[in-house]
């Protein structure tokens, strides 16, 4: 009954075929099976946001998604977003503004912030805080993170104008 189940999905554009136990969540699959350890695991019940990834372009908590549920889906992790250069400016803004200390929450913060910037070109600070409200950072007090996201939004808007 609890035998491995076949699953096929795209991870950062690469096709992956695997046999997994139904109980294996996507975060563990990415980390343990694929060694994509940029996806972090904090609370394992959807509260902290450290495990945020994109499935078919939308952000989700990978600790609350079973690997078998990702059958046929396209999963993007922080490694994918980073390697493609999609968030290079956001990463630079985080570094510049000291928007990270221990870095544990950072992959989830970056993916969630990028999600906001994709939907709203220049969000105000309240909107930034609200969009990031499901991502815990225990180091920075959030101020610098909000600054970095805001600065990136402005730079992108200027570049686009």
């Amino acid at each position: 009954m609890n035998a491995p189940v076949p699953v096929s999905l795209l991870v950062n554009g690469e096709p992956i075929d695997a046999f997994v136990l139904p109980r294996l969540n996507l975060a563990d699959f990415l980390r343990e099976n694929l060694k994509l350890t940029g996806t972090h695991i904090g609370c394992e019940h959807g509260v902290c946001g450290a495990c945020t990834v994109r499935i078919d372009g939308e952000i989700v908590r990978s600790c609350l998604v079973l690997t078998v549920q990702a059958q046929g889906a396209s999963v993007e992790t922080i490694e994918g977003l980073s390697d493609s250069g999609e968030i290079a400016d956001l990463q630079a803004a985080f570094r510049e503004r000291n928007a990270l200390q221990c870095g544990y929450c950072t992959p989830g913060m970056l993916i969630t912030a990028q999600d906001l910037l994709k939907h709203v070109s220049v969000p105000d600070r309240r909107a930034i805080r609200e969009h990031l409200s499901g991502n815990y950072c225990r180091c920075t007090g959030y101020q610098a993170i909000v600054d970095a996201v805001e600065a990136t939004a402005m730079t992108r808007a200027e570049r686009g104008a």
Partner: protein, 293 residues
């Protein structure tokens, strides 16, 4: 923590899902978005033998208007409710409420059917469907049945659903032009479960309520349709009458004490929400502060 081991079946149709549920009974759990089920399983509060994944059933997805009903498929996600022009037009309360449900990453997966079937007394959508006088459509091997929202919720995580039944849709009466809504909740942090919340639907004519449904949540073991609303219908609302309704509401509630709030605090906050709601719906801001003594 990680979920305990379980078997997994991906349902290929509603009929197939019902067969699987009939076969496994209460040893099975239905998996839709998983945003309540997976945390409960990861925390080992639940360990079903088998998950029946209905996530791929396109027939359960979508929002349509059928006559004077807004029909919302069980797999419609929170984010879909938030973006739907039909919901904005006919049941704005749901849109207002969903903005308070967790966070974007959760709203991208969580479904209305999952939320209602899970029946957490502190969650928003159960109170909304009670306030909206919606009907829950469930299907079992014997066919389909319709349950009014007020009858559907039976206790903490408890509903009228039988183990071999599947929640397939929600039917919401289309709001007439005269309908207005109110939604507010107290939470420690935006997106957290409410300490106390209120979802309301009203019809206001000539400065009076001709209809008023108040759905309170996180004030008991299930969403509560407050009888105290009756005092305010077809009456000229004065500060004295509102104070009377607030007292009746406090009597009617039987809130639980937990780490977030005492029962007394919940009673108090519920009456504050009642005043805010009435003041907002009647556009009489003085009512919000004009009572309470």
């Amino acid at each position: 923590m990680k979920a305990a081991a379980f078997a997994y079946a991906r349902a290929t149709s509603v009929v197939n899902a019902l067969e699987l549920l009939a076969m496994h009974g209460d040893k099975a759990k239905v998996l839709s978005g998983g945003q309540s089920l997976m945390p409960a399983m990861n925390l080992r509060l639940l360990s079903p033998d088998i998950l029946v994944d209905i996530g791929g059933l396109a027939e359960l997805r979508g929002i349509t208007v059928r006559g004077d009903l807004l029909v919302i498929g069980a797999l419609t996600r929170h984010v879909d409710l938030l973006r739907s022009p039909e919901v904005a037009l006919h049941a704005r309360l749901l849109r207002d409420a969903v903005a308070h449900v967790a966070h974007p990453a959760i709203r991208n997966r969580g479904t209305i059917g999952g939320s209602l079937a899970h029946a957490d007394p502190a969650s928003e959508l159960p109170a909304c469907v009670v306030a909206l006088d919606a009907t829950i459509v469930v299907r079992g091997s014997a066919g389909e049945r319709r349950i009014t929202a007020t009858e559907f919720f039976r206790g903490i995580y408890e509903t009228a659903l039988l183990p071999d039944e599947l929640l397939v849709a929600v039917e919401v009466p289309v709001a007439g032009q005269a309908s207005t809504f109110f939604f507010q909740e107290y939470a420690r942090r935006h997106g957290d479960y409410a300490v106390v919340g209120l979802a309301a639907r009203a019809v206001v004519a000539a400065g009076r309520f001709s209809a008023l449904r108040l759905g309170f949540f996180a004030v008991g073991d299930r969403p509560l349709l407050a009888a105290a609303a009756g005092k305010l219908i077809d009456a000229t609302v004065t500060p004295a009458l509102l104070a009377e309704a607030a007292a009746a509401l406090a009597d009617e509630l039987d809130p639980q004490e937990d780490q977030q709030a005492t029962a007394a605090m919940r009673r108090h906050l519920a009456t504050v929400l009642l005043r805010r709601c009435v003041a907002a719906l009647l556009a009489r801001p003085e009512l919000e502060t004009g009572v309470g003594k």
